[in-house]
Amino acid sequence: MNPRLTRQELLRRGAAGTALLAFPSLLAACGGGDGDEATGELKDVLNFSNWELYMDTPQTRKAAGLTGPTTLQQFTAETQIKVNYFEDVISNSEYFATVQGRLRQGQGIDRDIIVSTDNDRFLGTYLSNGWALKLDKSLIPNIENLVDAQAHPPFDPDREYTLPWFSGMDGIAWNEDVTGPVTTVTQLLEDPKLNGKVGVWNSMGDTLGLVMLENGDDPAKVTDESFDRALAVIQKAQDAGQIRRFYGNDYAQPLSTGDLAASMAWSGDILNLGDPKLKWVIPEKGGIIWTDNMLIPTGGSVPTASTYMNFVYDPNIAAQLSLGANYISSVKGVPEEAAKLNPDAAANTLAFPTDDMLSQMHQNDPAMLTNPDYEKRWLAVQGK
């Protein structure tokens, strides 16, 4: 009743199956969806995709001593534009993966503003592929409030397409209950007492950037030699079992439970966690500063987005945002405004760094971030 499926038959059927895979004609028609044209009109709705914990909420405002409505509500009150705020940027790579398909076809993604970080290859990729729309600077007079340090980034020298949202600093954090202070990258990667309990990032710009500084190289101008040197340091630590894992944002809990003794960590995370046994420093040889940038993707409404960007570049609004989210603003005059609103909170140097701290900060070289050979070797160190 049941015929035997002999091995030969299975192979034959399998071969017939794989022949189905050559479908060139079907795919010739691929692509070329008609894109939504960016309208020149102001809309009454703004769709904004951002990271989690990047916007003031009633709770965080209360904790920061701020009263009144949230900045989003203030924006709506002032401009009659409703904001649909999505906290769906979980990581630069994952967000990119979900939108690249539509962008590649010239289609919109139902967003007017999205955010991507400059320590990763994806921000540059949006721009180099023409998937970002030019800002309407006539609607952004507050752009003059942009701090000088951010005025001419290498990926967007004239700030035609992007504007900073928040910045954060890369440093080292440690768990007081598990270990004494860890203040240099070398100590982090080579101290045998920390073996197997060290975390680094899976992000090439952040991790190798800190290592390059430790090596005395400039992370903003990467050469093959400086890359090789930095990679070798990480490889050595990995081979010695020093590094437990390459983390994304999720190093914080293991650090807190003691699975990690010390880890490369972002200033904002540590601040937001409020766990008193976690300490954070800028490494002795300097740290990396990264910036999340707003951009208008294909299909977004340029006037609406530009209006919002102008709104958040008002120093008072920017100060509220910084106080409410605990990240660093790129708007001039924010520390002073914040001091007016809440002097104690404004004294927190993790969110309002001093000039001295900022002078120890460096940025990544976008050419390193988009180099495919570097990327492949970086993944190889992680076993991928």
Partner: protein
């Protein structure tokens, strides 16, 4: 005196042997309980910490007991939408996939036809494909057919049915292979046509397998992350929601939802047990 002396040596080995026999008989039950314990351990932890009131953002140290999280279960933005979406998709996809899969299983097991081997292969292939490949390749299809498919609820539903069908087929097939056809033949000999036979004889007998397959399918659907992620567009299912929020710290409300689903499932099962018990009793009483 001699009778007492004679009695005691016989009693002691009896106890030991009886104890050993007791252990052997119940070893399997003990093992089963231990195994269930192992399976349930993380779930117990999850449920426990749903009642925790964390001091900071992290929920891994027990601070104090509170019902707040259960009362304010939807306090976290997006969590309610996410779980409702997950359940809707789960139910829909499971029903459709179980139906399609059972039909395929019946065809494969009971009929000889041209293309049977290829069908077997086709059903196996989704299971031998990594989830990330299933997800990414399906996305390519949807992106090239945006006139028909918009990323969202529908595309997630389609993706879920696609990967659940294979599991249904395999599960139901295992049951059908040992199925006694004589029962069906007997029914037809007694005058039932094929449809009636199917309804009254076949279906009830394969129902347990279909239920097992449906259970597995629903669990797969409600738990799926990778395939869903690629095809969700902006729609959030519960796993996607958790993935996003776990990047920093998981709020206790997530534990609450997870525990709630679990408790509902157990309650249904207990209800089923009670129902069967009462039906059996009633049958006994009637007999």
């Amino acid at each position: 005196m001699t009778s007492v002396a004679a009695a005691s040596p016989r009693a002691r080995p009896g106890v030991a042997r009886r104890a050993w026999a007791f252990a052997k008989r119940h070893a399997l039950a003990v093992y089963a309980l231990l195994a269930v314990g192992y399976l349930m351990l993380p779930i117990a932890v999850v449920i426990l910490f749903s009642f925790n009131k964390p001091a900071g953002r992290f929920n891994y140290v027990w601070e104090e007991f509170t019902f707040d999280n259960w009362i304010d279960w939807n306090a976290v933005l997006g969590i309610q939408n996410a779980i409702v979406t997950s359940i809707e998709i789960g139910l829909l996809a499971t029903v459709v996939a179980t139906a399609l899969g059972t039909l395929i299983a019946m065809a494969i097991v009971r009929h000889r036809f041209v293309g049977r081997g290829a069908t077997n292969l086709l059903v196996f292939l989704p299971m031998s494909t990594p989830e990330i490949v299933l997800g990414a390749s399906l996305l390519t299809l949807f992106l090239n057919t945006t006139a028909i498919f918009q990323l969202g609820f529908v595309t997630i539903f389609i993706a879920h049915v696609m990967f659940i069908v294979s599991f249904v087929v395999v599960t139901v097939k295992a049951r059908l292979i040992g199925f006694d056809r004589h029962l069906e033949e007997a029914a037809m000999d007694l005058g039932a046509n094929e449809l009636t036979t199917f309804r009254k004889v076949t279906l009830p007998l394969i129902a347990p397998a279909m239920l097992a397959a449906a259970l597995l399918g629903f669990a797969l659907s409600i738990d799926d992350f990778v395939i869903t992620y690629f095809n969700a567009g902006g729609t959030q299912t519960f796993p996607i929601f958790v993935w996003g929020i776990a990047r920093v710290a998981v709020p206790p409300q997530v534990n609450v939802i997870a525990s709630a689903i679990f408790i509902v499932a157990i309650a249904l099962a207990l209800g089923n047990v009670l129902w069967q018990y009462r039906s059996a009793k009633r049958a006994q009483g009637a007999a």
